[in-house]
Amino acid sequence: MPPERRSFGARRVVLMVVAAVAAVSIGLVGFSVGRLSTINNPTPSNTSAEAGFARDMQVHHLQGVELAMIIRDRTDDAPTRLLGYDIATTQAQQAGQLYGWLVEWDLRQAGPEPEMTWMTRPGRSDEAHGHTDGAHTPGERMPGLATDEQIAELSAADGVEAERIFLTLMIAHHQGAVDMAVAVEDRASNTSILSFAQAVIVSQKSEIDLMESMLADRQP
């Protein structure tokens, strides 16, 4: 007697079990592939270079906004005011991107460790050369940041004198931002941060060239 005649009901149960197992397997495979697809772009952790950069570069950029807004009040020179407008709007927008990424990563704006700690850790290129120290000395100021005294000096000056102070401060400020962007490229793997850092490096380097020529034109 053929078995299918003997147990038609059992055969149906077997089919249902096979279908259920297949459905669960497909679900598990889908879940796993979904998880694995994030491997090259993981959500940054609270002490990652990405998170540290996103926090510290906001501080850096927002001081850039502050300096750029001051010079717009301190001079009537159209090219300098336009440069200030460009820097203020760009850096405010970029600071907002960094703020938003931290929110998206479910991280707080306040880090669990002091500012710039991420950059004191060795990067991939340091490790490749057997170095254990990072690109930043613990406790030192953020690179390129103007001091309160320098900001007061800029705020008190006007005309071409204010322009010279502004350009000098902003060249150093941009150089510091480029250093931080280069450091994060050597430490991060998140694609949003990497493309942000690359954009900062390219655009601020070219603005440094522009500001150096503007500063040369304004020498007494």
Partner: protein, 227 residues
């Protein structure tokens, strides 16, 4: 039914007896049955191996995907909506007024305020409430201390604070030696090294829940006593 020879007639079949023919037929049937049995047992074995391999592969993939991918962030302190002992919350309005305001909280933790926000930073003198409250609306934390606290205590407090989006100022007649205020939130502590200071900053500093997150804390009013 007349049995027919199962295979094409060979030269010798004509010579076989009926008995012999039946025996030969039986032998062929038996052989066929054995072949079928062998085939089905092989199929079952293949099925079993494929099934086990697939199960192992799926489980392996699942385990790999969980082991290799990072865990989501977790916090010892702070976190979204974290409960920090002693934090009070309020409901305040946020209109602009040019007059003095009588605030329900001391120090003020939100409410009507001056159009000019107070620039963030360290102040050695009391600052105008109406301007400081505007900075809270932008996500700053206003850290106030009783003028009677020691210099060492003030240094400890300063060391715990972020470099931006913080106003530090003395404040007369505080309900406790140190009070941290954000928009609609407040924490009173007795000492600067209270671990809740850091927890409070982690939860509320530059919060996304203030009326104007991301708005500036520079470029407006420098009150007297800004260090």
């Amino acid at each position: 039914m007349t049995p027919t020879p199962p295979a094409s007639p060979s030269g010798s079949s004509g010579n076989l007896t009926v008995k012999q023919q039946r025996a030969a037929q039986r032998a062929v049937k038996l052989e066929e049955y054995h072949r079928q049995q062998k085939r089905s047992s092989r199929n079952r074995r293949i099925g079993l191996i494929v099934g086990i391999t697939a199960a192992v592969a799926v489980i392996g993939l699942l385990v790999t995907s969980i082991v290799l991918t990072p865990k989501t962030a977790s916090y010892s302190a702070g976190g979204d909506g974290a409960e920090i002992e002693g934090v009070e919350t309020f409901e305040n309005t946020s209109n602009h007024v040019e007059t003095a305001v009588n605030y329900p909280q001391t120090p003020p933790a939100g409410g009507e305020h001056n159009p000019m926000w107070l620039n963030c930073g360290v102040y050695t003198e009391p600052v105008p409430n109406e301007n400081a409250v505007h900075s809270l609306e932008h996500g700053a934390i206003w850290v106030t201390y009783d003028p009677s606290i020691s210099d060492a205590e003030l240094s400890t407090l300063k060391a715990a604070l972020p470099s931006s989006y913080v106003i530090l100022s003395p404040f007369e007649d505080l309900p406790s030696p140190i009070v941290l205020s954000g928009w609609n939130t407040q924490l009173q502590v007795d000492a600067a090294d209270d671990p809740r200071v850091v927890e409070y900053l982690e939860e509320y500093w530059k919060s996304n829940d203030v009326p104007e997150p991301g708005a500036s804390c520079t470029g407006a009013l420098d009150a007297p006593g800004k260090a």
